[in-house]
Symmetry: C2
Subunit: 346 residues, 2 copies
């Protein structure tokens, strides 16, 4: 019997068994057709604005132009295109204006800190179940612009050290609301995995004098793991994918954060996200997935960190082995994943 | 609004928000009664020994004494009490005798190695659905003894660097077979999380001159996180639990591996596992869970590493935030978890 391959991530010291012996094909993961019960009343649908805390950001169409606003007093515009609200059950909460700076963002003891920060829900569309692959490009551009607006705003708070933007799609991937939305969490410390990526990127940059992700773009552009590309972005199945059908979207231009995308770049990001998420949806009958933006928190990382988006289809279960060792088993090789995703992209 | 607590693990640089604002009670996680379809023919049930590869270890009752054996030739004893077989779809596979040592256990390139090792299924009982909480203590003692037999055997192979023993219970926790079983995976490198625990334990031991887990036992014995104890073991909900209702079982005697447990210690481990897993089962109607033994691979860690068992009930979904940051959100505090588990232990 030939051996499976044990592969290491591009930069992290994270290993995965590509267990092709199990001979799983991507189509083994096609989601069974399920008629999802429509939630009762959706608190994120237009007309139900009173069911959420007041919006911190609204995109309104005013005479063909986008006007940015927020809810105030009793005003709750219902004709929004994008609506960003604080989470009703926040994991992280902002300090009140009167709270002393000393309590904010401080580690209380070596093993305790206050969960100061923000936890927001970004409603991506007035249309309840508008999957990114079904949305118009202009709507996706609004979403990306709103991400950038919230990033700028949240990073301006002195107690915020990191801002995570992520999306959970489908109840199996942890989405408790089915209305199209992303979440934004601002934390008072740089999270573990982000810190590890920053450290590893910095080390590679020091040792080789080249950014790890710039090198990935160069090495993978003709590889069997390439899925799609356009002038500004590349989508690929990473060499040591830890999830079946995992893919990453990487900007070709080296930058440590998505802040400052040009209009053309924003449109190209929208296009490649729509294409790849659409391919995944068609291929596996709208499977659950998570995605998360990986960006550097601080300006000092500008030289060595390269922002990107990681998409994790939720097709397998991490069980006792993965959880107690941090080593993974993936039953679909990234080469197979890329081949099928390429075929499913229209 | 008061802030949630952000807590750090005893030794790892891993942080979790204890999100009590969401006011989840343990009983919110009671599993719906589901009549699980019985698998067609169970390949792990007595009488179906031909459906698996030959056993590498059998416990047979011979005149009231346990005789250890293995399948050979066409011999397939059917009256076993414990049966350990190679996994039909192994992630890691052993080298053939004729394979050159040079290909074994070597990292091929900096990001590629061969998945040389072992992947075994340890059938814990002839009784198809014997949950550890329903098993007799003598049967659980056989299971623990069989773990130790396989540990000794696998660590004797020169290409094995680490042996992971874990259990997946319920399909939601990744169990593809419902017959009571554990799995054993032997890997050609020390996995990431184990390496991190070893490093952190060593550092604490160097800095403080005391083992981190010996200190946990001392600090938690009168804490609200204590769940159960007996002369040799303590069960507690860890201070920075990343799973709702997570608990750990820790030996009071400092040792880096379970190898060498005395008869009395083995029985006390069986008793506390039965009690705690039984409490979890009663409290939440047989929920899915994973558990994994954490042990040091090498003898040099004897002074600073302290073996233990970590049990992760599968009650929540790690979604985009957890997966892209390595920071966790737990909606049940360990103090609440311990209170309810204490109440459910008979």
């Amino acid at each position: 019997m030939p051996f499976n391959e044990l592969r290491k991530d591009y930069i992290l010291n994270r290993w995965v068994v590509i267990a092709v012996e199990r001979c799983r094909r991507p189509t083994d993961f096609v989601k069974n057709k399920t008629v999802r019960a429509r939630d009762g009343v959706c608190p994120l649908c237009p007309g139900n604005e009173h069911m959420t805390p007041p919006a911190v950001l609204l995109y309104l169409n005013r005479g063909g132009k986008i006007e940015k606003a927020s809810d105030y007093g009793d005003s709750r515009p219902k004709d929004w295109l994008i609506r960003c609200v604080p989470n009703l059950y926040p994991a992280f909460t902002p300090p009140k204006p009167e709270e002393k700076p000393s309590i904010i963002g401080e580690v209380e003891r070596e093993n305790l800190a206050l969960a100061v920060g923000h936890h927001e829900v970004l409603v991506e569309s007035p249309v309840h179940d508008e999957h990114p692959s079904d949305a118009r490009i202009t709507q996706l551009i609004y979403v990306i612009n709103a991400y950038m607006d919230r990033l700028s705003e949240l990073y301006s708070r002195q107690y915020v050290r990191y801002v995570s933007i992520f999306r959970n799609h489908g109840p199996e991937a942890g989405a408790s609301l089915s209305h199209a939305h992303s979440q934004i969490i601002a934390t008072p410390m740089v999270p573990r995995l982000v810190a590890e990526e920053l450290e590893a990127s910095k080390e590679q940059w020091r040792n080789k004098g080249v950014c790890a992700f710039c090198e990935i773009i160069e090495n993978e552009k003709n590889s069997p793991r390439l899925i799609a590309e356009n002038p500004d972005f590349m989508a690929l199945a990473p060499y040591a994918s830890i999830h079946p059908m995992e893919f990453w979207i990487i900007p070709k231009k080296h930058r440590s954060t998505m802040l400052g995308l040009s209009e053309a770049e924003t449109e190209n990001l929208a296009r490649i996200m729509k294409a790849c998420l659409g391919g995944l949806k068609r291929l596996l009958n709208d499977p659950p997935y998570n995605f998360g933006f990986h960006m550097a928190p601080q300006s000092e990382a500008a030289s060595y960190y390269h922002w990107h988006l990681e998409v994790y289809p939720k097709l397998a279960i991490w069980a006792g082995f993965e959880k107690s060792t941090g080593m993974y088993i993936n039953t679909v090789s990234p080469e197979t994943a890329a081949e099928h995703l390429r075929g499913a992209i229209q």
